[in-house]
């Protein structure tokens, strides 16, 4: 270990306590990767790991890193798909999960103020005791944190009703790249026209501007009831048009996810495996729309029935197999898997999932789907399928997962995967869309994202310099790529 890092580790230990700092290799290896496709045997270790539990401790760590110009990598759930927490330049990994205290639940003003290292599940378990709910709902919620949700701007099951972090984040505390503690945002007010909305810059910043330590979020009274439904269509376009019509009709939809035929196959396969019989799904089904409605029982009942009537007009047919709907809901929201049979490990025993996460204009999704199949084939990637999530309130707002299987024991396949991501990303921009909607740039798209942002990327770099003048905050992310040639 170089002398500066050793000295920094010692100084940090003096400031925040020895028990919160480690240079042991076995501690460091536990921070060597997230869920991004990378070679099975790759291990990028930080030089130091710290586990602070207050904003002030984080600030002390950053000040010392600033003094010695040592990279800092914020780490939260470690479930990201973009390599955002990979310590590709070594340095100090700051595990933010020690900042896990809820600071205030304000029932009157419907806000929660919390340290951001708390997991989304744990936050909601506490809110539930007060009849409240933070509807931001990624599948990783038992492990991923509020801070990760802010920093990665990830998707939510309930995006079509409640939106994403931009719709929730009212206020944030940031430790900048110099160790300064800043409060950004508009306290508990739900909107502002004053100043620049600097707290919004933190959404999706992936720790490149500093470390978010506290946040005030908008929360909701927990709705009384919910109805989950599934409908198949003869084409993806019909499913989209049906959904469009539901919104035009004035229905409030809690979740709406459109799956392609291959993803539908994922659910029918699981059904066959579990129940040893053929599910009653028509041959012609090319798309599967999962929707849910929440609220008072009568409203939910009406919405559900009215929605089915509309969707039938678009050629939709209700899925009869309740188990398929339950299976989807378990993997999407409740996560109440049978004990000892959680699905993630078993589904990735041989190959892992990898995805291009693209934003595509709504009229071009069918076209993007066809291109996806071709790009995957060209790069010899096995297709898992497409799922269209909707992530802004009350509108069709596609955040699309174009997923493939990746054999991470084959370095050539991992390379081909990132070639696939590159070509898919270009395709998205060419279709007037965006390269990433829930994974972030991570260590994948940096530099290459100039294809999307053009000269604006220079301004983004300047913004980073204001917050992080020595480029110590998660360096190598967002502006450089480990994987895509154009970003190197």
């Amino acid at each position: 270990m170089v002398l500066e890092i050793q000295k920094a580790a010692e100084e940090i230990a003096q400031k925040i306590g020895e028990e919160k700092v480690s240079t042991e290799k076995f501690h460091r290896i536990a921070y060597s990767r997230d869920w991004s496709p990378r070679n099975a045997k790759e291990a990028q270790l930080p030089d130091v790991v710290v586990v602070p539990s207050t904003t002030e401790e984080v600030a002390e760590v950053v000040k010392i890193a600033y003094k010695y110009r040592i990279p800092i990598v914020p780490f939260a759930g470690g479930t990201g798909m973009g390599g955002g927490v990979s310590p590709i330049k070594g340095g100090i990994t700051v595990d933010t999960k020690g900042l896990n205290k809820i600071l205030e639940i304000d029932k009157e003003n419907l806000t929660v103020t919390t340290q951001v290292g708390i997991t989304i599940l744990a936050l909601n378990q506490e809110l539930e005791k007060h009849g409240l709910w933070w509807p931001h709902d990624p599948e990783s919620k038992p492990a991923s944190t509020v801070g990760a949700a802010i920093s990665c701007d990830n998707d939510s099951t309930f995006g079509i009703k409640y939106g994403k972090l931009g719709d929730y984040l009212l206020n944030a505390v940031l430790v900048t790249g110099t160790g300064e503690i800043l409060r950004l945002g508009h306290r508990k007010a739900l909107c502002t026209s004053s100043g620049y909305k600097l707290h919004w810059l933190l959404i999706g910043a992936e720790g490149t501007l500093g470390i978010v330590t506290e946040a005030t979020l908008k929360v909701f009274p927990k709705p009384q009831t919910r109805k989950v439904e599934a409908v198949v269509f003869k084409s993806i376009s019909e499913a989209i048009n049906g959904l469009k019509r539901l919104l035009q009709a004035g229905l409030s939809i809690e979740s709406a996810h459109i799956n392609c035929k291959r993803r539908l196959g994922f659910y029918t396969h699981a059904y066959r495996e579990k129940y040893k019989r053929e599910p009653d799904i028509p041959e012609w089904a090319e798309a599967l729309l999962f929707v849910s409605f929440n609220g008072d029982e009568e409203v939910v009942k009406f919405s559900h029935e009215y929605a089915l009537k509309i969707l039938e007009e678009f050629g939709g047919q209700k899925v009869k197999e309740k188990e398929i709907i339950d299976g989807w809901w378990t993997s999407k929201h409740t996560l109440k898997f049978e004990p000892f049979k959680q699905k993630w490990p078993d589904s990735q025993r041989k190959k892992k999932f990898g995805a291009a996460d693209l934003g595509i204009p709504i009229g071009r999704i069918e076209e993007a789907y066809q291109k996806f199949l071709k790009i995957a084939e060209k790069n010899k990637m096995e297709v898992l399928g497409m799922c269209v999530y909707n992530e802004r309130p009350n509108r069709i707002s596609p955040s699309i997962s174009f997923a493939v299987f990746v054999d991470d024991t084959d370095p050539d396949e991992v390379k081909r995967f990132y070639k696939y991501v590159e070509e898919m990303s270009k395709m998205a921009v060419d279709l007037e869309g965006t390269m990433s909607t829930y994974i972030g740039d991570g260590d994948r798209l940096g530099g290459f994202n100039k294809y999307e942002h053009g000269e604006a990327l220079k301004y983004m770099k300047k913004i980073k310099e204001v917050f992080d003048p020595q480029n110590i905050m998660n360096p190598g992310k967002k502006f450089e790529s480990c994987w895509i040639e154009l970003g190197k």
């Binding site: 919160k20 480690s22 042991e24 290799k25 076995f26 501690h27 290896i29 536990a30 921070y31 060597s32 990767r33 997230d34 869920w35 099975a40 045997k41 291990a43 790991v49 586990v51 539990s53 759930g77 470690g78 479930t79 595990d95 999960k97 020690g98 997991t119 599940l121 744990a122 990783s140 038992p142 492990a143 991923s144 996560l335 004990p339 000892f340 049979k341 959680q342 699905k343 993630w344 490990p345 078993d346 990735q348 025993r349 892992k352 991470d408 024991t409």
Partner: protein
């Protein structure tokens, strides 16, 4: 290395990274570094497999800081605890041994128990209980009940023999089951102990083992058949037997016990061996008794912190974990915390005293006795 056998599981975790095992891991909650959670340990295992990590005393501490409670297992589909035990065995084989585990195991080899207690006092609890040397069902006492909670073991034995059940007991000849050895990675010692026990069981004509200790139960029911091909004895936990006897109306809890209690699922009984309903069935059969479940119960039950050699090597961490569980028990408003594991009871007893808790710790067989 023993972990080689688990290579597929280790790399599956490496490529999954769901982290569902982490947040509720009792040791991770105390220590704060990823490496103390199961998914952290899976990367450590990968590091050892690939030669990126070397065994060390510090690494041994990290790997030993796990109560083997199997919470991670219940949130996963991999062989989590087995892998952690294999990691421990590899470290022991590489020459890294925890002094407290080693001392306990030396004591077992010398006196049959890890508690520095004389061998000839093992059967003190059993005085005047009408055991039958010719019975082919053995009531296996274990080490902790006879030396730490002899009265509760006595109650259990009296309840069973009281209805005319013919039970054998090996008394001072009984020897530790070897759980501590297996779970802390002292495999050679475990193999020797197992052979010795199997021979003793054979000589005594044992066809069935009943035990109240979930650690012993798990070892005999799950691990002996795996490690010893000649082990063909039927094994039952005392709650399974008693629940059946209640069904058959051979045990009749008739006297009301007007108390509010909560029940703690011992990890090795519940999550490891999936015995969840039988203890509740027994408690449910007692008139007047109100069972109030803790927030985390059955497969989600929080660990007491004492298992996996933690009590011996890291008692300060173990008791902190127990204190949290006692708080959860108190939150139910119950007067009594009932369980059926002497190791949990040992640790809860400390936690209750350290926190001045008013909750009363009672063994499940003791509360049943009040009703008979």
């Amino acid at each position: 290395m023993r972990i080689e056998e688990y290579e597929e599981d280790i790399y599956t975790c490496n490529r999954t990274r769901c982290g569902f095992c982490r947040n509720e891991c009792p040791v991770y909650q105390e220590k704060g570094f990823e490496s103390y959670s199961c998914r952290g340990k899976m990367l450590i295992a990968r590091g050892l497999l690939e030669g990126v990590l070397e065994p060390s005393r510090e690494l041994l501490d990290c790997v030993n800081l796990c109560a083997t409670c199997n919470y991670c297992g219940s949130r996963c589909a991999l062989r989590n605890v087995e892998i952690i035990e294999a990691l421990r065995a590899d470290l022991v084989e590489a020459g890294f041994r925890d002094q407290y585990h080693e001392r306990g195991i030396e004591e077992i080899k010398r006196n049959g128990n890890p508690y520095l207690k004389p061998r000839n006092e093992r059967e003190t609890w059993a005085k005047d209980i009408p055991f039958s040397k010719s019975a082919d069902t053995l009531l296996y006492a274990g080490c902790t009940y006879p030396y730490i909670f002899p009265d509760w073991l006595r109650t259990a034995a009296q309840t069973l023999t009281g209805i005319g059940l013919k039970l054998n007991c090996l008394g001072n000849e009984e020897f530790c089951c070897g759980n501590l050895m297996l779970t802390t990675g002292f495999l050679e010692d475990f193999m020797e102990t197992g052979k010795k026990n199997i021979e003793a069981f054979r000589k005594a004509g044992v066809k069935r083992i009943v035990t109240g200790c979930p650690g012993c139960y798990k070892i005999f029911a799950e691990d002996y058949p795996k490690y010893f091909s000649n082990f063909d004895i039927e094994v039952e936990h005392i709650t399974q037997l008693v629940a059946r006897l209640i069904d058959e109306r051979k045990i009749k809890p008739t006297r009301p016990v007007n108390s509010v209690i909560t029940y703690h699922d011992p990890c090795h009984l519940g999550r490891h061996m999936r015995v969840i309903e039988e203890p509740r069935k027994i408690l449910g059969s007692i008139p007047g008794l109100e069972l109030r479940e803790m927030e985390h119960n059955k497969f989600d039950a929080k660990c007491c912190g004492a298992g996996g050699g933690m009590m011996a090597a890291y008692p300060e961490v173990a008791v902190k974990i127990a204190e949290k569980r006692v708080k959860e028990a108190e939150a139910t408003g119950a007067e009594m915390l009932v369980t059926i594991c002497p190791i949990c009871e040992f640790n809860f007893d400390r936690a209750i005293r350290y926190t001045d808790s008013k909750i009363k710790l009672v063994d499940l067989m003791e509360i049943l006795k009040k009703s008979i």
